[in-house]
Amino acid sequence: MSPQFHSITEFLTMGGHGTYVWSAYGMALLVLVGLVAQPLRRRRAVLEAVRQAVAREQKR
């Protein structure tokens, strides 16, 4: 098994199909990162809200 491309330029242009290949892979990367980030952000927000509620409760 050997690499199919002999230079970075060749790899990026993909024999004229670079736009299609890279936009498909780029969009996939964006969506995958978003899918992981979204629940993590939501988890952090809920825990933070609970923390503040507990703090308010203790002040009273």
Binding site: V21, L32, R43, V46
Partner: protein, 251 residues
């Protein structure tokens, strides 16, 4: 009989699942990253270009795995809906909620990568043929699940309505699978069939298997992350979440 099912009840309760899944996450992250890394390099740089399609064929390593998971994810969602309807299991309702936006995102990616692949291969981004139209219906079903959930103020009613919609929507799944056989279509028939050898050279096929496996693991990872976030949101007023925030508990 109680002993044997104890683990099931512990895992089936939201706090039990939250705690147990916390231990699975690191393994899933490592496995998903490794498989995705290997599959990407293999598919993009080492797999041979297609004789007719050239390098645009490499889109297959995104298109086929996300399409697989978009469909498999619908079964996960519908099965969770059925479990929730029959046994009133809270965790199943949470899994169903977690599966909807994930499935929508994967279906969108399947349509997007298909469109971008269609342009150099068929000369068009979009055709209203059976396969593509039924995938678009799948996207609307997933989005409908998200919207329906938000349309109810009562969580009980929302859970039941969503479960019914998920179950009714399963009629679309065999239509998607069979669409390329039943109707004339630009879309090629399935490359991978359980009953026969793949119609693809092994050098192209092996990286595809790696990518499919990678997306399965990734799906499991995100489904668990979404479910955990859903558990926390719904149970934020219960004692175990307060303990978790105060650091009084492991996990």
């Amino acid at each position: 009989m109680a002993r044997r099912w104890e683990w099931f009840h512990r895992l089936g309760s939201p706090p039990g699942f939250y705690r147990a899944s916390g231990y699975w996450l690191p393994w899933l992250v490592v496995a998903a990253a490794l498989l995705l890394g290997v599959g990407l390099v293999w598919g993009l740089a080492y797999a041979p270009a297609d004789a007719r399609q050239g390098n645009s064929f490499r889109i297959i390593y995104i298109h086929v795995p996300v399409s697989f998971l978009a469909l498999a994810g619908y079964y996960v969602m519908a099965a969770a809906g059925a479990v929730h309807l029959i046994w009133r299991m809270k965790l199943a309702d949470m899994v169903m909620t977690a599966a909807a936006p994930l499935g929508a995102a994967l279906t969108f990616l399947a349509l997007f990568s298909g469109a971008v692949w269609g342009k150099p291969t068929w000369g068009t981004y979009w055709v209203w043929d059976a396969r593509i139209t039924s995938m678009l219906v799948l996207l609307f079903l997933y989005l409908g699940m998200v919207a329906l959930r938000q349309a109810f103020s009562s969580r009980e009613a929302a859970g039941r309505a969503c479960a019914v919609l998920a179950l009714v929507g399963t009629v679309n799944i065999p239509i998607i699978y069979k669409s390329v056989d039943w109707w004339y279509s630009l879309h090629q028939p399935a490359t991978i069939r359980l009953t026969s050898a793949p119609s693809m050279h092994p050098d192209m096929f092996k990286p595809l298997l790696v990518m499919i496996l990678a997306f399965y693991v990734f799906y499991a990872l995100v489904l668990i992350l979404n479910t955990r976030a859903e558990i926390l949101t719904r149970e934020r007023r219960s004692g175990w979440v307060l303990d978790l925030v105060a650091g009084r508990q492991q996990g």
